[in-house]
Amino acid sequence: MNGAVTHRGFEVRRVSQLPQRGIITRRGRGEIYDDGFRFSWTNVATFDVQAARQISYLPRGGWRGTMPDTFFSTVTALAMAGIGMLPLHASAIELDGRAFLFAGKAGAGKSTLTAELLAKGARFIGDDLSVLAPPDGKMGFRVTRGRPLIRLHPATAALIDAALCEHAPEDARGKLLAQPRIRAADAAYPLAGIFLLGPGPAEVPPSEALRLLPSHLFRPRWLGAMPGHGQRRAWLLDLAGRVTVRRLAAVDGFDSVARRLRTDAAMAAMADING
């Protein structure tokens, strides 16, 4: 067995075999237990997560020597859910000490908008996955880093100053994986607002937010089957009631005018929310 490393408070360890565990239910490529889950990523690796903050991974035939992207998205999201955090399918930036989330279906332009906001002075928290710490005492929801790399078309990647920029494995669209240098510190930031990318009026009243937010959980079908989902739904209710939710247009990534208008609208809305 190799030495362990630490990821988001979990001890991550390579193993040569995985133990039998008592299954609650099966989901797609994995199994859910009362104290964790097991997730297989194609023929690359199987990840076994225990709520006691341990992740074991068993490399398969397609293992390339590095963690696949799914470790930093699906595995991290579900592991964090298992320790009482709320993972959302959203990108996150920090502006003036507060966090804003950008949620939307695949292709809505979350990453593109995030990159354009970084070029306007925002600081990067995470792409595609955001992990929320639930309210605690007088503190409301706080946003912590989700996926630390951002996946972008080459033209958009050129907008940002990146420490790392390489072709994203497993991406047939030719996107690049970039690590922006303009990053927020590795901390938890108070959540100021959520923007939903899609058609409809800019204002999203709380009742509509409550209806829409569950679909923006990260891997909602998995989370729905994992223990603690009632509590997650309670947090979504709390989110809808206390956090400003607005809508921004989903735009064609190649329509530069529409992209610029949306970026300007996002900056104006964030300034409005931040007061």
Binding site: L210, H229, G230, R233, A234, L237, G241
Partner: protein, 89 residues
């Protein structure tokens, strides 16, 4: 029985969403939405109370006659029992 003491099921948490008080059961994930009067009864049940005490409180806050109030509270408490929001102890 009007003298029964009713108390909340503490598995529910709620938030004001526009005109309704929306609640979710943290064990089951089930949502319910309470209108104004049901929300008032829920708030009153922060401390265990009898139906008579609930009626007395609502009669001071709402313009309603005693018979109508008693009928409404009886129906509401029965609904709360069915939804497992509250029960007599």
């Amino acid at each position: 029985m009007i003298s029964q003491v009713w108390q909340r099921n503490e598995n529910w948490v709620g938030s004001q969403i526009e005109d309704n008080f929306v609640m979710v059961n943290i064990d089951t994930g089930k949502y319910v939405s309470l209108n104004s009067s049901a929300g008032a009864v829920w708030q009153a049940l922060e401390q265990p109370r009898t139906q008579a005490e609930l009626e007395s409180g609502l009669l001071t806050d709402y313009v309603v006659d005693a018979a109508t109030c008693a009928h409404s509270i009886s129906g509401l408490l029965e609904q709360m029992r069915e939804l497992q929001l509250a029960a007599p102890n």
